[in-house]
Symmetry: C2
Subunit: 233 residues, 2 copies
DNA sequence: TTTTTATTTTATCAACCGATAAATAACGCC
DNA sequence: GGCGTTATTTATCGGTTGATAAAATAAAAA
């Protein structure tokens, strides 16, 4: 064992962080820990990886649950404050380019083992923050994509997205998402480059969107609005 | 409390099952339990839901882990012995119809809260049986779909699926899968009928497949075989 | 250096976990 | 019915969990 390193000799680092910085360091490392072990991981093992003793955690967090909540908050808010919303609405560029750039940026944030695992763990718990996040994806991302696609294909953009449109966007988005799961959670070998996969997925989605629009143009809007009716009651 | 009901009076049910049947009943109920609580659920709570005491479990299973393994086996093998393979290869019917019927049948099996949750729980654990299952989906289902699509579009069917083809099929399949997650795990409201979603997803996939085939026909096979090269080393 | 304050550790608690042994209850058979 | 066998329960073990109080240490202030 080393000596105590009390004042001057051999003191290389470890200045002593501000309480808030130290707290954030704990949250950061706890995120890594819980992403691997799940939220049933013990506080003793977590403390060991932090290089401290277990009761110290309770100086910075009133309970394990509070620490876990802070991990959630950090993980779920991380992908949302990257200002990608303008990226989708820039109509000076074709929709395909915008989608390519957006999904490249978005997946650069969420396609990590850490993020995906915490997302799935909390999803299995049925947490409110998970439902909130999924709602944000639908209302901010998918709804925007649908509107921009309509514009690209010369369709009216005011009306709310139909159930079919949302569901098709979800299938596309979920398909892309599932690539991350296969790669970073299942760790499947021999997987295609992310960029190629995204390009293929986008082309497939746009082809499907064009096809569906053409079909809907023949017989006007009906049937696919079962959802709005249900939501209006 | 009731009386003991030893021989004849007021005996309505509860005949006493054979050891194997009782064991299977335990496995069945344990599947429900672990699907909700996760595999960290306690044996005492499980026994309570079974209406028995906790040590009794150890008469039927040597350890909790063995019980859990049997739950895995049952859940993972369930969707595979439904003989849907012939369904995909019946070339007297158009591929769209076959895909519709297959995915209707397949999702009828896996789109339950129970199945999806156990699948995700075990996936997060990185279990071998999970990786095995994902490999089966790729090699038996997706590869077959690709081959049948090639046939439908008048392309040669012998060559192994390219990386792009597999990845596109995965995005499609994962998109459908993610519908189940949204519905039965996230429990999102106002969701489209499963059949409509599947039909839309299939049409989108086929449109994308046609588009990709047309593009590949211009410049011959190259680039998209990076995977085979990687697998051959 | 001495005093004060903030940080970290040691020791410990009650509750819960998976698992085992021994005692009891229920059944099938004669 | 009584007897032997199987199924089930009661009681209990050692280990681990999240959490608390008090002692000890390190840093900062004087």
């Amino acid at each position: 064992m080393k000596k105590k390193s009390s004042s001057s000799v051999a003191r290389v680092k470890q200045k002593r962080l501000s309480p808030e910085d130290r707290r954030q360091e704990f949250v950061r490392k706890a995120t890594e820990f819980f992403s691997e072990e799940g939220f049933n991981g013990g506080t003793r093992e977590l403390a060991r990886r932090l290089g401290v003793t277990q009761p110290l955690l309770y100086r910075y967090f009133p309970s394990k649950e509070e620490l876990v909540k802070e991990v959630y908050r950090k993980v779920y808010l991380e992908p949302l404050d990257t200002g990608w919303e303008k990226l989708l609405t820039n109509r000076s560029r074709p929709i395909r380019e915008r989608l390519l750039q957006f999904y490249d940026a978005y997946t650069n944030v969420i396609f990590t083992r850490k993020w995906l695992r915490i997302y799935l763990f909390s999803g299995l718990k049925g947490l409110d923050i998970n439902r909130w996040y999924v709602g944000v994806v639908r209302d901010k991302i998918l709804t925007r994509i649908i509107k921009e696609c309509r514009f690209e294909f010369g369709l009216p953009t005011q009306a709310k997205p139909t159930a079919s449109e949302i569901e098709m966007a979800w299938v596309f988005h979920g398909g892309v998402f599932y690539y991350g799961v296969r790669r970073y959670i299942y760790e499947m070998p021999d997987i295609q480059d992310k960029e190629e996969m995204i390009a293929n997925a986008i082309d497939g989605y746009l082809a499907g969107f064009a096809r569906a629009s053409a079909k809907d143009a023949k017989r006007p809007a009906a049937k696919s609005n079962r959802l709005n009716a249900a939501a209006a009651r």
